[in-house]
């Protein structure tokens, strides 16, 4: 289990900087796929609710597009926080989000190698 301090350390994000304006969630292009939205990640990390976030599908729905990072008026960088929680989740033994056996079914003849490399980086350890 990852604790709050570990998430803060590897993300480099200080959730206390957040002024709860909600702009990160308002600007997130994948907002509608998430149970917990970017602003909730920030709030829940601040309150130590890491296990709940790690168990949620929402952690895999962030596109790491950095729209929230660029547009946060307080420089909180929510996408880095979400990736830190995802990284801790997939680092647990047997918890890779993308399994090697699943890959053939998910690729086609046009898919660039870039997609596979990026997905491997973002969903596995």
């Amino acid at each position: 289990m990852a604790d709050k301090e570990q998430i803060i350390r590897i993300s480099g994000v200080n959730p206390l900087k957040c002024m709860k304006c909600g702009k990160c969630t308002a600007t997130c292009p994948n907002y509608d796929e998430m149970e917990y939205h970017p602003h909730q990640f920030v709030y829940m990390v601040e309150h130590g609710e890491i296990d709940k976030l790690m168990a949620s599908e929402s952690v895999y729905k962030c596109l790491t597009c950095f729209a929230c990072v660029e547009r946060c008026p307080r420089g909180v960088e929510p996408a880095k926080l979400i990736e830190a929680i995802r990284t801790e989740a997939v680092r647990r033994q047997g918890c890779n989000r993308l399994k090697a056996d699943d890959i053939p079914a998910r690729i086609d003849d046009d898919m660039p190698g870039q997609a596979l490399m990026m997905a491997t980086r973002k969903y596995t350890r």
Binding site: N30, I107, M111, M118, R121
Partner: protein, 260 residues
């Protein structure tokens, strides 16, 4: 103008057009490209967790190799460009990262910190110059409404990529003007196509990319241009009639270099 040109894995396979049209255009524009021997993957995506070091070493090797010759890494794939620029920034500004990298790599000559990672669009703007490019155009895209699709990787994080204003970019629009076209400004030009999430759930990429194409068409675009093979893939998957091209293909065509 001599560059260490890093094409990246996808430009050898699914994005050969992006590479081919860059090479013939660069030659015409007087840019000399030196491709490093035995280059390997850039790493694919930048890992944001601060304790992820090993998966950034492939980018470190490319940067240290360029340090020994041209001092300039030229890239065109949005993903390679993003990873290389961010790792170069870490080498220069993150002492803990640089310390661990040097302990592991033990380079014969320490990294000078002087390597620049630049995108081909930046080289066109800053070193060739859009005015000079415009003067060399023989087949202008006169009357064509062209929508630049930036996506996420080219511009963000803005402080590190430092390519253009991340919220109101002009570099691709100015490129479109240089080749004689009319740029189309639309709201979603710097929003994400769904990216690597296509491996997690193709429906996500279809929704995100569909909204981008719809927005560009609503604003009157005849064509769209991108620098990213994954954006290209996700946008093309939304339908047969997307009219999206690599910007290098339009460049080569404008310079009269495209074979029919």
């Amino acid at each position: 103008m001599t560059y260490t040109y890093f094409p990246g894995c996808t430009l050898r396979t699914k994005a050969k057009d992006l590479d081919h049209y860059l090479r013939i255009s660069a030659e015409k524009l007087g840019m000399e490209l030196i491709e490093p021997a035995d280059w390997q993957c850039c790493g694919g995506a930048y890992s944001n967790a601060k304790d992820e070091i090993a998966n950034k070493l492939s980018s470190v090797r490319i940067i240290m190799d360029a340090d020994k010759n041209t001092g300039k890494v030229l890239t065109v794939c949005s993903a390679c460009h993003n990873v290389l620029k961010r790792v170069n920034d870490d080498l220069k500004n993150d002492e803990n990262f640089a310390f661990k990298v040097n302990n592991y790599m033990k380079p014969e000559v320490p990294y000078s910190g002087n390597v620049e990672v630049i995108h081909f669009l930046e080289a066109l703007r800053d070193e060739v110059g859009f005015d000079k490019l415009a003067s060399m155009v023989v087949k202008p895209f006169t009357g064509k409404k062209i929508a630049a699709y930036y996506g996420c990787l080219l511009l963000r994080p803005g402080k590190v990529m430092a390519m253009d204003d991340p919220e109101n970019p002009v570099i691709m629009e100015n490129f479109i003007k240089a080749i004689g076209g009319t740029p189309v400004i639309y709201a979603r030009r710097n929003e994400c196509c769904g990216g690597y999430a296509v491996m997690e759930d193709p429906a996500i990429a279809a929704k995100r990319s569909g909204a981008i194409i719809e927005n560009a068409k609503d604003m009157g675009a005849d064509l769209m241009v991108t620098a990213c093979p994954l954006c290209m893939y996700n946008l093309k998957k939304t339908g047969p009639d997307t009219g999206i091209y690599y910007f290098t293909e339009l460049l080569a065509e404008a310079l009269g270099l495209k074979e029919d």
